[in-house]
Structure formats: C-alpha cells, structure tokens
C-alpha cells in the first residue's frame, strides 16, 4: 500500500495501490491525513490500483469523509475495479461516498 498525491488548486488527487486491510489501515489513515490540508475543497481517491479493501480500510474512509465534511470539503472515489466496487455496493458505503468511473468525472463532480 502506498499513496501518491498531486494537488490541483484546492483538489487533492491521491492514488492508492495494493491491499488496504487491518495490517496497513493505520498507515493508510496517516498517509491520507498527511496529504489533506484544512483549506482543501476536495479529495479524489483514485482506486484503480487497489486490489482489496477490508472493513478496516472502509473505516479509514469513513473517518476521512467525516474529517473532510468538518472542513466543508468533498470526498470522491474513482476508477474502482469491479470487486472493489462490489465491496462498496454490499457495505452500502456508496450511499455516503460518491463513486465515479474516472478521475475526470470525479473532478467535474467535486468542482460542480
């Protein structure tokens, strides 16, 4: 698991990869906190290279969503593989985190 972040204006685009599970969820959380600044307006998480996410990983996303909400910022996910998309569908997390097919779509949605 590693995070690669770029910033475009107030939007942070972060790419995660590999497995996000109980063994590295803490690291994932620290990394995410490290890339977000209070003045940011949106975080787009590109999950194209994420192969697996456990409930520990979902918990980090939930806490990140709450932090961003507190700052008045948006969170969006994009480019999920079908098994990962399924995890969000089954857990119902797609009810609270918008999921988009591509970075471009996500960027359009958070700027709109």
């Amino acid at each position: 698991m590693a995070i690669n972040a770029e910033r475009e204006g107030g939007t942070v685009i972060a790419k995660a990869d590999g497995r996000i599970d109980g063994s590295n969820a803490g690291e994932f959380q620290t990394d995410l906190q490290g890339v977000i600044q209070e003045s940011d307006t949106a975080l787009i998480l590109d999950f194209e290279s994420v192969s697996y996410i456990s409930s520990a990983g979902l918990r980090v996303l939930l806490m990140t969503a709450k932090t961003l909400e507190g700052n008045g910022a948006k969170l969006a996910l994009c480019s999920l593989s079908e098994p990962i998309r399924e995890v969000f569908r089954i857990s119902g997390f797609d009810n609270i985190i918008p999921i988009h097919d591509s970075q471009a779509e996500a960027a359009a949605a958070v700027s709109g």
């Binding site: 939930l62 806490m63 089954i90 857990s91 119902g92 997390f93």
Partner: protein, 383 residues
C-alpha cells in the same frame, strides 16, 4: 531517585574511601551506599533493604565469601546485578564469579574512576532490564484482556437454535486469534416466527469486542420490539449512531422467518447477501436491500426484501471471514467456493450445512493463518 548500592568488603578502610571518592555522586542524589563486611551480613542487609539495586562485592571474606554470596543473591531478588572485586590477575576466581552470574568485575587496587564507569554501566543495564520486564508485563496484561474479550464473544453466542415441525436452524463460529467482532443471534418472535441476525464489527481487539456486545444488545431489544426486519435495522442504526463509535461500524443482516408460509423477510446493513442452496445443489445469492453498514449514517431507512423459501432449501448467512478466507497462494475462497462445494454435496440439514461451510473454509485455507472470525448461520425448510 538514588540507586542503592550494597558494598561488601571485610577491609574496614573501604567504607570511608568509597564515601569520600563517590561523594559527588552521593551529593547529587545519584548513588546511596549500604555497607556489609561479609556475605552473611550482606544477605541480612539485602533482606532489610528490599530497594537495593546492585551489589559490589569482594571475594575473600570471613563467614561467607563473595562467590557463595553471588549464588545466594538471585534467591533474594533476581533483578539485582553484582560486580565482583578481585585480585589483579586472579582469572580463576573471576571466571567462577562470571559463571555464577556476576555482571562485571573490577580489580584491586580499586581504580575508583573505573569502578564508577562499571557501576554506571551496570545501572544502565538494570534500567533496560526493568523496562523490558515492564513491557512484557503490559503485553501479558493485554493478552489477558484479549482472552477475556474472546471468551465474552464466545459466551454470548446462542447454543440453542429455533426449530419447528418444518424447519431447523444452526450457527457456528471459529474466532480468529486476535479478537474479531463477529456474532450471530436468534430471537423467538410472535406467531412462531424466528429472527436470525449475523453481524461483523469493523476492527479487532477489545474496542471491537465491546462494540459488538453493545450492537448485539441493541439488536436483541429492537428485534423483540420493532417488528419488521428493515425497521429493526433502522432502529439499531439510530441507537448506535447516538453513541460515539470512533469510526467503528457493524455490518448486519437480520432476517425473519415465518415457518407457516416459508417466507423470509430480510434487511441488510452493508452485509453480504444470503445464499440459498437448493436440494439439487444449485444455489442463488438473494438480492441486496441497499442498506449501509450500521453506525455510519444516522436516520438511514433500511429497506427489506421477502422471498419464499421452498421446501428443501437451505438459507446460509455468513460473514466475510468465509468469503475472504485466504489460502497460502493468496487466493480468496469467495462465496463461489461454498457454492461449488454444495453443487456436488447439497446439505442434508441446517446443522451439517453450517459445519460443511466451516469445513470448506478451513480445508481451503490449510496452513494459512486465520485473520478473521469465520461465522455462519443456516436455516433449512424441511422438504
């Protein structure tokens, strides 16, 4: 706080010499000295001063020599470290002393600068030793807590399962080594109906175990009071959201079975869909009901879905410990693994269905470590 050092020597001149040469360390509160003149008196001083940290002892002394004293010290307190003072070049006694557990030695005539370095080095070792012991004690305490949480998790599971003239049910769980947060529960309802719940709390350890306990209590209360499956999850979710959950959540599937009609009404809060296995070995996953994990979104209205269970069908509820069981090659079992098994060996009854799911999981994972609780709850309408 000053370290307390016991100096043992039959030479009467040594005591004033030590006090004089170490006066700075004494004045600064680093060292405090206690003196004895032979091994017997040393043991008496050790018994009277349980806070002595280390011993500096001569070898040749009346009544009890230093080498014998060395053997006795661990019986008084195994954390005490000793430095031996020997005649220059007396390798035989030095070797014996080291073999009997002396930490270090200095030679006569005593070079006080060297003695101080040796004392400081010994005290540093004692400090590290104490830290290591304290970390180990904390680890043991934590392990004990986890054991308690583990027993708690096991003890709340029901051991008697609802059944009737035309149906039976059964549940099984194999907990992971680190306490996970799975549970299942059964509730007897009005009109011979029965409620079945299976759940998986995010996270591990004591916080997850406590969260699981409270989720289970809330579920039980709501299941008896609230009625419909969707309404039960809506109520439990709101109650959980009222508390500070620290980002923890629980996926839960709650189903109500009516044995008179064979109807099963279920609601899923972010949980894997039920699997229905038919008598011919074919199987279907029931549709999701669009619910989110509990504890995430206050006020969420959980939908429900009703299916009719045909005679001979077996409904399997399970947690992701089943679907995400991983073998040594890193492959996931998936619900397909369970479906493939039942395709050739359809379950004969509710109890064997649960046991066979466990068997499929552990035959698949083999020697691979178990990361998550493996839990299932099965219900069969008799043919």
């Amino acid at each position: 706080m000053a370290y307390k050092i016991l100096v043992v020597d039959d030479e009467p001149d040594l005591e004033p010499l030590v006090l004089q040469r170490m006066r700075r360390q004494i004045r600064r509160g680093n060292y405090e000295f206690v003196f004895a003149h032979d091994g017997v008196e040393a043991l008496e001083k050790l018994a009277a001063n349980s806070d002595i940290d280390m011993v500096v002892s001569d070898i040749n002394m009346p009544r009890m020599d230093g080498l014998t004293l060395l053997e006795q010290i661990p019986d008084v307190n195994s954390d005490i470290r000793a430095i031996i003072v020997s005649a220059y070049g007396d390798m035989e006694n030095i070797r014996t002393a080291m073999n009997r557990g002396a930490f270090d030695f200095v030679t006569k005539p005593v070079d006080f600068e060297d003695l101080q370095i040796t004392i400081d080095r010994t005290l540093e070792h004692i400090e590290q030793w104490r830290e290591a012991v304290s970390s180990r004690d904390q680890l043991v305490a934590l392990q004990n807590e986890l054991d308690v949480a583990n027993q708690m998790q096991q003890s709340i599971l029901p051991t008697v399962f609802p059944s009737g003239p035309a149906y039976a049910s059964f549940g099984a769980m194999t907990p992971a080594k680190d306490v996970g947060g799975d549970f299942y529960d059964v509730v007897r309802l009005q009109d011979d109906c029965a409620g079945f719940a299976i759940a998986d709390v995010s996270g591990k350890g004591v916080p997850a175990a406590l969260f699981m306990m409270s989720s289970r209590t809330l579920l039980k209360g709501s299941a008896i009071g609230a009625g419909d499956a969707g309404a039960v999850l809506t109520e439990v979710n709101n109650l959980i959201c009222d508390d500070e959950t620290n980002g923890m959540f629980v996926t839960m599937l709650y189903a109500i079975y009516n044995p008179r009609t064979g109807e099963l009404t279920y609601a899923s809060g972010g949980h894997d869909p039920p699997l229905v296995v038919h008598p011919d070995g074919t199987s279907d996953l029931l549709p999701l009901t669009g619910g989110i994990a509990l504890g995430v979104l206050a006020g969420f209205e959980y939908g429900e879905h009703t299916v009719t269970i045909a005679p001979g069908d077996t409904v399997c509820l399970y947690t992701d410990g089943v679907t995400e069981a991983t073998n040594l090659d890193g492959k996931l079992l998936g619900i397909e693994g369970v479906q493939d098994y039942f395709a050739t060996a359809p379950p004969a009854d509710a109890e064997s269905a649960s046991q066979e799911i466990m068997k499929v999981v552990f035959e698949f994972t083999g020697e691979a470590p178990q990361f998550d609780d493996v839990t299932c709850l099965t219900l069969r309408r008799e043919a």
